[in-house]
Symmetry: C2
Subunit: 335 residues, 2 copies
Amino acid sequence: MKLASLKSGRDGHLVVVSKDLTRYSDASHIAPTLQAALDDWKVMAPKLQSLAQEIEVGSVPTERFHEHDCASPLPRAYQWADGSAYINHVELVRKARGAEVPESFYSDPLMYQGVSGSTLGPRDPIPLGDTAWGCDMEAEVCVITDDVPMGVSASDAADHIQLILICNDVSLRGLIPAELAKGFGFFQSKPPCAFSPVAVTPDELGDAWQDTLIHLPMHVDYRGEAFGRAEAGVDATFNMAQLVAHAAKTRPLVAGSIIGSGTVSNKGADGGAGKPVAEGGLGYSCIAEIRMIEKIASGEFKTPFMDIGDTVRIEMLDKSGHSIFGAIEQEVVSV
Amino acid sequence: MKLASLKSGRDGHLVVVSKDLTRYSDASHIAPTLQAALDDWKVMAPKLQSLAQEIEVGSVPTERFHEHDCASPLPRAYQWADGSAYINHVELVRKARGAEVPESFYSDPLMYQGVSGSTLGPRDPIPLGDTAWGCDMEAEVCVITDDVPMGVSASDAADHIQLILICNDVSLRGLIPAELAKGFGFFQSKPPCAFSPVAVTPDELGDAWQDTLIHLPMHVDYRGEAFGRAEAGVDATFNMAQLVAHAAKTRPLVAGSIIGSGTVSNKGADGGAGKPVAEGGLGYSCIAEIRMIEKIASGEFKTPFMDIGDTVRIEMLDKSGHSIFGAIEQEVVSV
């Protein structure tokens, strides 16, 4: 099934959306919000699944679904922990500044905790205080868990993944170096993320969901042109279940925790840095990567970060070309 | 007024507590949970204040208040951002390893984002997976905000501080070095915090609340003995309003965000490292500090971190010796 939160109050209004994202049916008689459904998922999920089936066969009233009416599926979430499954992204960043990737990064995931109480809807603008902050997008795969016990194993963690979605993890690259130099990780450099219009249960992905990874490309269009088509099932050093287990090592994860994959990033066909889409490559899921490749190749950064008015579109299509999660489509605005 | 969440479901049950912490009255006819009250604070606060006055004059039914029935005031919170107002703590840690404190630390607060979806009640045990993780307490002052706009000034931020409480920011010192070396900040090394039984409005602190700092000592007893009496109004490089403004630079803070002061820490009377309480000093709000002082003085750490069965009690008393927030009292248990 596919679930969305239509904009309403602080937590949105839960609806079940048709597989083709054209129609929805109100689900508030089952649970008023997605968080409320996740709080009692074992009871709520079968009821929501029934409604989803009724929508497909046309036995319940539906209304036209508009992605721009959506808040993030969890407009306020209790936990947003973002990993770095695709180490190629980290390798590029390090290579550009002549630093090695520590061996431990291949067995011990990088993870930071980001803002979860404020999120952006999939069509909300990205508010930017200063273009010198170096605004960038990061296209990622995310999962939403039910209650996960502290110390869960990676194999058990897979069973706690209840919903899957994608996000734009907005990053302020200009604020990152000074912030990381302080040693406490990202804070101001990671403002609210935007999440896709719908979150889906794993069965909606069919064969594309294997080993808790989505084996499909992440479509990123920047300023109206194809920018990234990286394969989310390729070059992942960690899968989503491993990231959930990492997050839960010393704490339980409360129902509704969102765990992210980090920027989806592939190596090139030759094992080196990937090429831009225009040159036949799979491109990039963030601007920082193409800048790193420019820096490694020519000694200088060429592509600027996002300016006021720039747009990004992030989407994932199934093998028939249909949108799975709906599209994140955002414009940078000055605040 | 003083507010508490009695243990019930995921979010507790909101009650107003008498100033002397002996009695409470159910507030669920006003708002079922503290989060619900904060979501509409301008409307809810006056109603809760009225109830608080009725409790003091005895015009409403009350029941006996037991601190051990409490969850954290916000059992699930959307944001927990912890600063380092007391740079003495940072200076000690750095001095012990022969590192300088960067000049920027005195103007740009250190802040990390911690787990907020899971918290510990004030009398809940501290679950520890492995004593080698180096379990430590950190006694801190915290504030709860209403909705704070992105980019708020420090002076305006002060008006968004609606409630004050204290916490035990549990830290796993053994996991910190490897985690900070990865560059993404704390994650597994900062498991859930315990918060005090009640959160209070600033007026409850009277003259002790000045310039958004509490001018009273933080009482920390470890294994039944006085361990820390550091003055929370002294040696604070940043006040709470400045920390709120720092947190909100690139994001709005959602109502119910909790911002922490970092470990309360004073210099000694001579401007050097503070002495233990037993030697007439103000002691420490965490074990790491006494270890750092041992290391600086003798070249080796002597005091071990918390073992299974060890207890910590954290409390703040007003000038008459009455508990303001109730006591956090926890025992480390093996899980």
